[in-house]
């Protein structure tokens, strides 16, 4: 370690802080309860994180492009309700693409408002949170939606099925994460997403169609939401209208925890997955060590603040804000 200055170490801690914290948690929980690292426990955590995770993948694109999406929770409720309703009306083979199409329309609308009309994404998606919730309630008439014949449908495979012993939600999450991770890291589109979020003006001056990129990010986000809705619907085969309520903030928390800046231009799919897993493992670990379920919220709060704080402290070179 010779030659390391204090600021080097500080920088390293800040850069990899979230991974270090992740491992510390795992070690801590493992010591407290040996069941924590058991394969079935890990599988359980990943499985229960899958819905949040799938949504977080899409929101990662939106956040890197320099915007926010607060509408994913209510959009997920919409997808879930719609696919459950159409399941009995059209049959699952038609219901799924129909639901995807409708959800993508919502994503396109938001993408149009934020991308082409250049409206503030926080307020637009806040408005859409409310509007989509209203749309869902109108669609369902406010009633819970259930599949009539819960035993006799292959539709349950997306949420409950297993392939080679691995739960399908995990396969979907991992598959989508790999795909989108490659798209973000290796394709021209991904490069442009970073450019638009890092400096939208410079991106325009470089001949990138900024509006189109932002539009695509929201479209992608709504695709992920539809996928999450499919898993949710398939897992429970029945749902309330508010099933996704509040998820938008947990999703955002996971993305921020992974180290994406709300200002845009930074973040990766891998980091977001870490963020999702941290949330999942904290929840699980705290339960295993005997703390009550809701303690996870408090711990999440503290971790989010610490993670972001360390990040900006490293950038400004001092721990405390210079603000008088």
């Amino acid at each position: 370690m010779a030659g390391w200055t204090r600021s080097d170490i500080g920088g390293f801690l800040a850069k990899q802080g979230i991974l270090i914290a992740f491992f510390l948690f795992i070690i801590g929980f493992t010591i407290a309860n040996e069941r924590f690292l058991a394969p079935e426990n890990i599988m359980g955590v990943v499985r229960s994180s899958a819905i949040l995770g799938v949504m977080a993948l899409g929101v990662t694109f939106v956040v890197i492009s320099g915007n926010l999406d607060l509408s994913v929770g209510s959009m997920m409720s919409f997808s879930t309700i719609v696919v459950l309703d159409l399941h009995d009306k059209l049959g699952p083979a038609l219901a799924i693409p129909a639901m995807f199409a409708l959800t993508l329309c919502l994503g396109a609308l938001i993408g149009f408002l934020v991308g082409y009309l250049k409206l503030n994404s926080l307020i637009v998606t806040l408005g859409m949170l409310s509007a989509i919730h209203g749309l869902t309630l109108t669609y369902s008439g406010g009633k819970n939606m259930d599949i009539a014949d819960k035993g006799g449908t292959w539709f349950s495979i997306f949420g409950q099925g297993e392939i080679f012993g691995i739960p399908v939600p995990i396969l979907i999450f991992v598959g989508l994460a790999a795909l989108l991770g490659i798209v973000l890291a290796r394709t021209p589109f991904g490069r442009k997403v970073y450019a638009v979020g890092g400096n939208g003006v410079a991106a325009t001056f470089s001949g990138i169609r900024r509006a189109r990129i932002v539009f695509a990010c929201y479209l992608l986000s709504s695709f992920c939401v539809a996928t999450a809705g499919l898993i949710q619907a398939s897992r429970s085969l029945g749902s309330q209208n508010t099933v996704g309520q509040g998820l938008e903030l947990e999703v955002l928390a996971a993305v921020i925890l992974g180290g994406a800046s709300l200002l845009g231009g930074s973040g990766t799919i891998f980091k977001t997955i870490i963020g999702v897993l941290i949330l999942g493992f904290i929840q699980n670990g705290l339960l295993l060590v005997g703390l009550q379920f809701y303690a996870q919220y408090v711990v999440t709060w503290i971790i989010i603040i610490l993670a972001v704080w360390l990040d900006i402290a490293a950038k400004r070179g001092r721990l405390w804000s210079p603000l008088a």
């Binding site: 394709t187 003006v201 410079a202 001056f205």
Partner: protein
Amino acid sequence: MSTATPALRLENIVKTFPGVRALDGVSFSVLPGEVHALMGENGAGKSTLMKVLGGIYQPDGGEIIVSEQKVVMRSPLEAKHKGIVFIHQELSLAKELSVAENIYLGELPHNRFGLVDWQHLFEKTDAILQRLKVGFDARTRVGDLSIANQQMVEIARALTHEAKAVIFDEPTASLTDAEKVVLFEVIEDLKSHGVGIIYISHRMEEIFKMTDRITVLRDGQYRGTLDTAQTTEEDITQLMIGRKLDLTRNAVDHEFGAAALEVENLSCGTLYTDISFSVREGEVVGFYGLVGAGRTEIAETLFGLRTPTAGKILLNGREVHIESPVDAIELGISLVPENRKEQGLVLGMNCRDNMTLPQVDALVSGPFVKDSAEIEIFGHYRDKLEIKTPSWKQLAGNLSGGNQQKIVIGKWLSMHPKVLIVDEPTRGIDVGSKSEIHKLIRDLASQGYAIIVISSEMPEILHVSDRIVAMYSGRIMRTFTAQEVTEDSLIQAISGLGESEKVA
């Protein structure tokens, strides 16, 4: 005059930034009742010096002495209390608040319950406004004022305390002629009250009209103080650039080809009117004028960032419609923008990715970006432009200004444009990189590029251009060839003194 006690004296001020000695032992003094011009090229250290005086930067060495007392200023507020007021070029006002609140920002008079004493506040403010003879009152919302009047609010701040010295940074940049008259009256008034004034400006006309003495900085160093009454422009210019201007070096060294870009009677709202010019292959056309003369706006139009309201653009003799930068790039027009950090680079992205950004769609194998192709392009222009960076992975934000600019230039050269527009190519760049970039522009011209250079620095324009278009207030005043141009005629043209010339 030289016997009086200086209102403000600087002794050996030093300020360094990582890698740059921005101020290198600057000393001079401003007498009470004197208007003291501070001149120098962009990057000569004027703005750094002013920030030191305004309490925004702390000097690394030297002393600031106000009325024979050494002062240390850790904040702008402290500077104000010590008697130094800095009137910013970029206004620092809260637009939603009233004039009075802005003038006494941070020092609102109040009672012990924290309630603002409005009557007292407005009375004090109106007294100051009366002295400035302005046409608005203390209650007016600042956002409702014109830019000139907003500047008056900034100036009014100077009068709230017994200011010993007031610094004006390019105060006339956004003023109309009538507003300038008012400003000059205010300066005369301050003068008669014994305030020392530092006046920063590039405009020779104002310098000779307003100032008593002139101090010149170059490369962060003090180069001398001249008595305005006994000085000529040549003396000042020589001090500023350190040599007699050599006008022969831009003699045409190669033949020009056909007209690559022709602009006919182009207008865009109030920004510029009736612009006509052409650029031939292998030719460098320089656009010279004051800030706000409309040069950048023309460049932005050619790059598809603005829609012209009238006129035609022809590329290789064919009329084109450029709706967006995407169109411009497809047509072979490239723009190295004025503001490197805001428009030129994604600072949080690495050098290579910045350089290949406009063509990333083409650098693919299958659906993926082809790393090797990118690295090859980067390597080529790194060598060609002598970009100094440890690796392509370095973030653009971590490079020096000169290397950042070369990344932007490389980005556009790699697109092999027909027409290259370079806006303020050396702003904020050290002298060494400057001459490299000048040489590069000449080299590119000799390779057949049609080039437009926009610059506010006369030596630069004279140095690189084959022809010079002089603009004033949105119009072309005159077009010079390299052979016929003189400094005097150029300055006349861009100050609006000459007759507007029709270019066919």
